[in-house]
């Protein structure tokens, strides 16, 4: 939403702008009587209250006194959570798959890679924005896809509000492929991907030191410049790898380039090296339900990956890295619910309910340094609040109310319009095209 960031060139570690004078924000709202889940890993609280003022959470929990003049929303029998933060998505970059002109995820013919910034391409009117919003997704990490390089470009964090300004944080991270995809983008092997990465970072160092070698440089100047914030720790380096030793290789980068701030993405075999990931204190955004050796870099894949990593102390979030569900982010809650199911499977490691919600709300926010702003109902966070018609991790539950920055959002979308046009029981006096 524009208000909070208007006119501010935000860098990740700058103090984020707070507050606004918008009249819509002046109101104090109390959602009462609901089962409230904070999104910080704690278990839900029955008969809880959430208090929102000026687009921010004032408090959430049980037995809260209501401020005077509060507008009360009775949510008895409902569940209230922070909005889902899509951990790895293309929301707004793609209107429809398989239609190149409506798909800005990748730029296979571009001379630039690391310099690509997805923010200007994100369309807040993409149908997916409204559909995912109606599914309870309020923020999303939006990533470009790599082609012809290990560098995919710079991703953004967006809100899914029904307004023209989706970008919450542009250039939040650089996405790099260092597994099978990286090998492909670097000419055919992981070893060449490593060379490409190191050369790129060296060229970025040179350019930062004012010594860019125009003739000898492999990277376009813009690409080298785009990598400078990574070296300075001002932009996250998000690395997609799946195989255990690829993960360890990424952790090694910290030794070589001490300034960089890493996020691991994928990490299907992360459970086998979980202690080392935890020791390195590198957050992980992993697919929840990958359990097939779809490629040789994930032969050890199991649905217990997330649970085992968390049990080992890894800061773990859920994001759907590939597969069909990657463009259906509202299924994140189902994926999280499935990890709760594992608690009853002998030999498997799942998550508690509270941990599972955390993995799709505050954990992805924390992974990219935004846990102080979004992803939970802790005091001071942006009021991205969802009232659900039941247990949000359960199959088939949906939001009844979605708030972003304290503003109640419309839940209608192209799907609800199609549904209403074709719902059973209407007599056809005219073709369907005349129906609203």
């Amino acid at each position: 939403m524009k208000k909070a960031f208007a006119g501010i060139a935000v860098t990740l570690f700058a103090t984020l702008a707070a507050g606004t004078s918008d009249a819509a924000y002046a109101e104090v709202i109390a959602i009462t009587g609901a089962t409230v889940a904070i999104g910080d890993g704690s278990e839900p609280i029955t008969n809880g209250t959430v208090i929102v003022r000026d687009g921010r959470i004032v408090a959430a929990g049980g037995n809260l006194p209501l401020p005077a003049g509060v507008r009360r929303i009775d949510a008895m029998g409902k569940w209230v959570t922070p909005g889902i933060v899509a951990g790895f998505s293309y929301i707004g970059l793609q209107e429809v798959g398989s239609v190149d002109s409506a798909d800005d995820r990748q730029a296979s013919a571009s001379p630039f890679h690391a310099a690509i910034d997805v923010a200007p391409a994100i369309n807040p009117k993409a149908t997916a924005v409204a559909i995912e919003r109606a599914g309870g997704v309020t923020r999303a990490i939006v990533v470009p896809s790599a082609t012809g390089s290990i560098f995919a470009g710079q991703g953004a964090v967006i809100d899914l509000g029904a307004d023209p300004d989706p970008i919450m944080l542009p250039r939040a991270f650089q996405l790099v492929e260092l597994g099978e995809e990286g090998a492909k983008g670097a000419g055919g092997s992981r070893a060449s991907a490593q060379v490409m990465l190191r050369n790129a970072l060296q060229e970025a160092r040179d350019i930062a030191a004012g010594g860019h070698d125009r003739d000898g440089a492999l990277l376009p100047r813009a690409d080298a410049q785009a990598l400078v914030p990574i070296l300075r720790g001002k932009q996250y380096l998000m690395v997609h790898v799946e195989r255990a030793n690829d993960i360890l290789g990424v952790l090694e980068l910290k030794r070589e380039f001490p300034g960089i701030k890493l996020v691991l993405v994928g990490a299907a075999e992360g459970w086998t090296v979980a202690a080392r990931i935890a020791a390195a204190n590198v957050p992980v955004i992993a697919s929840a339900l990958v359990d097939l050796p779809a490629t040789f870099e994930r032969v050890a894949a199991t649905q217990s990956n997330v649970g085992r990593m968390r049990a080992a102390g890894v800061r773990i979030a859920i994001g759907t890295i590939d597969g069909m569900d990657a463009i259906q982010q509202r299924t994140a809650k189902q994926h999280a619910g499935n990890l709760v199911a594992l608690a009853r499977v002998p030999g498997a490691t799942g998550l508690t309910w509270g941990q599972a919600l955390e993995a799709i709300t505050s954990a992805p926010a924390e992974a990219i340094g935004l846990g102080g702003e979004i992803g939970s109902l802790r005091p001071g966070r942006r009021a991205d609040v969802v009232i659900w018609d039941g247990d949000p991790l359960e199959n088939g539950t949906v939001p009844e109310l979605v708030m972003i920055d304290g503003v109640e959002q419309p839940l209608d979308n192209r799907q609800t319009r199609l549904r209403d046009r074709y719902r059973p029981g209407d007599d056809a006096q005219l073709p369907k095209a005349y129906r609203p």
Partner: protein, 462 residues
Amino acid sequence: MFVRSLLALAAAALTGCTASTPPLESAPKPAAFPHDPYPSTYKAYPGRRTALVGATVLDGEGKRIEQGTVIFADGRIEAIGGPDTAIPAEALRIDARGKWVTPGIIDMHSHLGNVPSPSTGNDGNEMSGPVHPDVWAEHSVWPQDPGFSRALANGGVTTLQILPGSADLFGGRSVTLKNVPATTVQGMKFPGAPYGLKMACGENPKRVYGNRNQMPGSRMGNMALNRATWARAAEYKRKWEKYEKAGGEPPSRDIGLDTLRDALDGKILVHNHCYRADDMAQVIDMSREFGYKVAAFHHAVEAYKIADLLSVNGICSALWSDWYGFKMEAYDGIPENMAIVYAAGGCVVVHSDDANGIQRLYQEAAKAVAAGRRIGVDISKEVAWTWLSLNPAKAIGIADRTGSLAPGKMADVVLWNGDPFSVYTRPEKVWIDGAMLFDVTDPKRRPVSDFELGQPGEGDVK
């Protein structure tokens, strides 16, 4: 009736065994070619008489029994009933209180084995031309695909139809498998299941071949080539029928047209990948033009727009609960699709087309039920389970043998550790033909494919 069909099968098998010594007859009969040249070698694994007692039972035919009992022996369902059901003394009695029992899930749209994990290169689509009724999916299926075990252990899937892909207008023959680990596909083949014919309309064939500047390059090209092919099939059928009646010189054999002839005769069931309502309507007219029947439209994201038409024509819709938007013809997908098709009296089937989705078909049904409820279409859990077992069994022609817990049917049974419409529920035990092939409490009852041996994570819960 069931017993009779079993006997008929047994008789056919015997005939097959003795066929090497043909009976001497006076009049020369036209030579017939074998119709089952790659026969199933599957035999049920040993099981013991088992009684599941005290469960909530969904019988797969739309009935629900509380505190129910399901008894099976010798690979067959023996009895299903309430708490007063008599339990034979020697039966293994499993306390299923608080748990649920259902028929095994049947996924009639799977590519396990022919699009396996990891990839074996392309084994799913014969993309050398748009008309390939001559290829058979079973000749591509890699039985070591670890996806089969995931579908069993996490998904409660006991039977699957493996289809060729959708690059071609005529993609080839499908094969129906029992989800039983085996070294050969013959060891998985569902004995006596009819074959299916995979067809595809819409974007895929025209994209694949249009990009090569080849026909079909458009939807009208799709239809033209389809019609030309069916016309050839009709002629082939006529020639063979004439020869089989009158004898003489046999027509030359065409492996692809054999399949299409059987499809025209209703012996092979037509499974048509088709998303858009208008595309489906064209296919229905084409099926009338050439005299065949479509068993099911697969993917059918716009089935809700023509729910009445599909219902009137008795065509099943194999659906996802909420996938949409991944290509133009999937743009109009809505979560209420299944409910609207159901409300029009149509045959709903939950399908996967996906090695991950097949592990959660029961959850897809649950989401669709919830979406229906929100538009005033109430679907009970017992009815919704027909979408997962009996309806797909009907659409692939095996409903007389499996797909519900009716006595005499194959004991393809799942014991769930709770309500299977809940995300928190998983299969606890799975039986196929009465043999326990998965037990969540016993690592020895968990299949590990050859591929997984010696690899990181071997034998792990998945």
